[in-house]
Amino acid sequence: MNCGESARPGSPWFGGHPDGERAQCPCLAPPTAWDPQSCLLQFLYGQPVVWRLLCSDPGLNPAWPACPLTSGGFEQNAMTREELMGLNSAGPSGWLWSRRSCVIPAAFFTQNCVGMMFARGLKRKSAEEPEDVEGCSAGAQAMPSYSLQRQSLLDMSLVKLQLCHMLVEPNLCRSVLIANTVRQIQEEMTRDGTWRAVAPQAAGRAPLDRLVATDILCRSVREQEGECPAPDMGDGQPDLVPGLAVAPAAQAPRSPQSSLWEGDSSRESRGGFQKSLDQIFETLESKTSGSVEELFADVDSSYYDLDAVLTGMVGSTSSGPGSGLQAFASAATSPPSSSCRSDLGELDHAVEILVET
């Protein structure tokens, strides 16, 4: 398939389907040196109104400039469905999306990056620093440590759960299997004692003992205020992450944002992780339109997470198990307003576009 070749004419699937054939453009073919930046992610909101196209760092792949959406460098666009459909008929390079679900291009995951996807993401951000992320491959295909692998798997699973959440038609079997995997990892990490839980104040809230740790951890993702600091931040403030220059103005609108989440009080006590599990399963139940809005509100935050993690915008120089989750924490602190724009770095440019919903 050549770059620029459009999808099958007349097919309702513009580029492929997550379960079926994934149309691949050489732009997305796995490069010999796999790099998490040369990937294309498309998202479809629950309501197919706004299509969001994220494309990162086209300079890595010379084919990218041909793509009209990526010309001009690192760009993200929020386009209406009609605009995007118009583009597709003009035959841009290999989009992978379906009108119903978000799709990550097959090329994004190569067979060889066993458990190293996030490790590489970490590496890329800290490429300027001399020391390497623990266990990350530095050119050679060194296997990361078991704990890093496990952490990567956990991150990947949480991301997949978020994706499930965003799918228009969530596959319950897949969600259940991924959720069980996450629980399994978390149980093992709890047994190992590597799960850093904030003990007293949160312990009482979680109804299920074994999910206390996840409860706290993921709550810290969604609530930036100090009442529940992120467990992996020694300094107690999850929002200021080295390398992620968040403008001070950004912190002001935090409270309305968190109140949006806090409004969902019935779920709060069960914690963010449970919340996403709940939402996954409850999506399948009948919902009132009001709660659907809440659902989409959380979809927004999950985009931060996904984007932060997958485009390597972890923004942390600290290595180790906590950093992947830090991505969630840091990404979630991005402001809902577009006040911080021009003078921010690549990371914030990306995050801010996400916020512009």
Binding site: C173, T181, I185
Partner: protein
């Protein structure tokens, strides 16, 4: 019929009716005589192929399959309450046994099951008194004589009409339908519930299995497949995402939440990983024609169970063990969630299932031989004999072997079907349908 398996498996390509307007094939099923082969696709269409009547001159081959009928079974719908689209993809097709000239099949998408009648019309009435041949009404005053309309032959027309629509009974996505041996009832299974229907009654169904927990947070297991026993009309099985199969007897109680038998193989501790549960999830369960055995397909293997022994399968066949070391990558790209189907041959001596790279595998239960074959257009013209393939797991790759890393995980064979009487198989790649038969000398 000559012995099917020679020294080596010989499979001759009979024909390859590649669906030109390719939409992704989502189910393949022979009817009870094997004369008809139905395929469903992601676009909600059903295409039925019919075997040519055997040409007496060309007695060396069985008939080829040609398109018999195409119809749109399901349309995309929108659930306004949940703001979710309902896919029109056909998840399963099951044929009813033929009772009269017409054929009947059940087809289902995620939410709605439909009973279709496929009938032939090869005669039409001519000679109406009040109508012209093109259908326009004649002026009655011009009618001077009367004649009796007669049937005259016409080109064969195959019509499909929906006879029953069984809707609004499933909250979750339907994954299986199975017709009972009484040919009056059938079951439909979604992720959490199984319903029993009567073929004549569309406004009611009985819920016979419900594994939905009171609190959805506690959900850890879903139903992945269900099937009625081929002979006992009160017995059915359902498989779960945790690798268990439950056999239920509908005579025991109205709600079959308590199984009569639970089939589960204890986990092998040496193979334990974070992916153990996912790869143990059963994607398909099929009774043997005899009814004595059942076959389950999980991610890496096919297992044959004797219904009388619950604690372990009687036979296990590894489909693609070389993937065990790649589970993390397969988890990343979601291939680990692929649901492969499996099927028996007519005599229950051979089982078949699909794999990646357009490979499919057959296992002979008697000789314990197995073979890997590929369904691809490049290598197969009609009448060519399929060459066995081999995947090299590690180390030195021999000539003609394919290394694991060069497998194409986008080319997967999820759906296969075996003719109920003859050695003809239908194999569906993503967009193409291949039909193979054994080499008859």
């Amino acid at each position: 019929m000559r012995g099917f398996w020679n020294k080596v498996f010989n499979l001759e390509v009979v024909c390859c009716p590649c669906l030109l307007k390719a939409d992704i094939i989502s189910t393949v099923e022979f009817n009870h005589s094997g004369e008809l082969l139905a395929t469903g696709d992601k676009g909600g269409r059903v295409v039925i192929f019919q075997q040519e009547q055997e040409n007496k001159i060309q007695s060396h081959s069985r008939g080829e399959y040609n398109v018999y009928s195409t119809f749109q079974s399901h349309e995309p719908e929108f659930d306004y309450l949940k703001s979710l689209e309902i896919e029109e993809k056909i998840n399963k097709i099951r044929w009813l046994p033929q009772k009269n000239a017409a054929q009947f099949l059940l087809s289902t998408n995620d939410k709605t099951i439909k009973l279709w009648k496929i009938s032939e019309r090869d005669k039409r009435p001519e000679g109406y008194n009040l109508k012209e041949e093109d259908g326009r009404y004649r002026d009655p005053t011009t009618v001077t004589t009367l004649r009796v309309p007669v049937f005259r032959p016409m080109d064969l027309m195959v019509e499909a009409s929906p006879r029953r629509i069984f809707a609004n009974a499933h909250t979750y996505h339907i994954n299986s339908i199975s017709i009972n041996s009484d040919y009056e009832t059938y079951l439909s299974a979604d992720d959490l519930r199984i319903n029993l229907w009567h073929l004549e009654i569309t406004d009611r169904s009985f819920n016979i299995v419900d594994i939905k927990p009171a609190n959805m947070e506690e959900l850890t297991e879903v139903i992945t497949a269900a099937e009625f026993h081929p002979n006992s009309c009160n017995t059915f099985v359902y498989s779960s995402s945790k690798g268990t199969i439950r056999l239920c007897d509908m005579r025991a109680s109205a709600l079959c939440d308590r199984h009569s038998k639970l089939f589960e193989e204890p986990e092998d501790p040496s193979n334990r990983s974070f992916f153990s549960e996912i790869i143990s999830s059963i994607s398909d369960v099929k009774f043997s024609h005899s009814g004595r055995y059942m076959m389950t397909r999980d991610y890496l293997s096919v297992k044959i169970w004797d219904l009388n022994m619950e604690n372990r399968p009687v036979e296990t066949y590894q489909v693609h063990e070389y993937l065990r070391s790649k589970l993390c990558s397969l988890y990343e790209n979601d291939c680990i969630f692929d649901k492969f189907e499996c099927c028996w041959n007519g005599s229950d001596s051979v089982v078949m299932t699909g794999s990646y790279n357009n490979f499919f595998r057959m296992f002979d239960r008697n000789t314990k031989r197995d073979i890997t074959l590929e369904a691809s257009r490049e290598n197969n013209k009609p009448r060519t004999v399929l060459k066995p393939r081999k995947v090299c797991a590690s180390g030195k790759r021999k000539k003609d072997e394919i290394s694991v890393d060069s497998l194409d995980f986008n080319k997967k064979i999820l759906h296969t079907a075996w003719h109920p009487k003859e050695n003809i198989i239908a194999v569906a790649t993503t967009n193409n349908l291949y039909i193979f038969q054994d080499k008859v000398n």
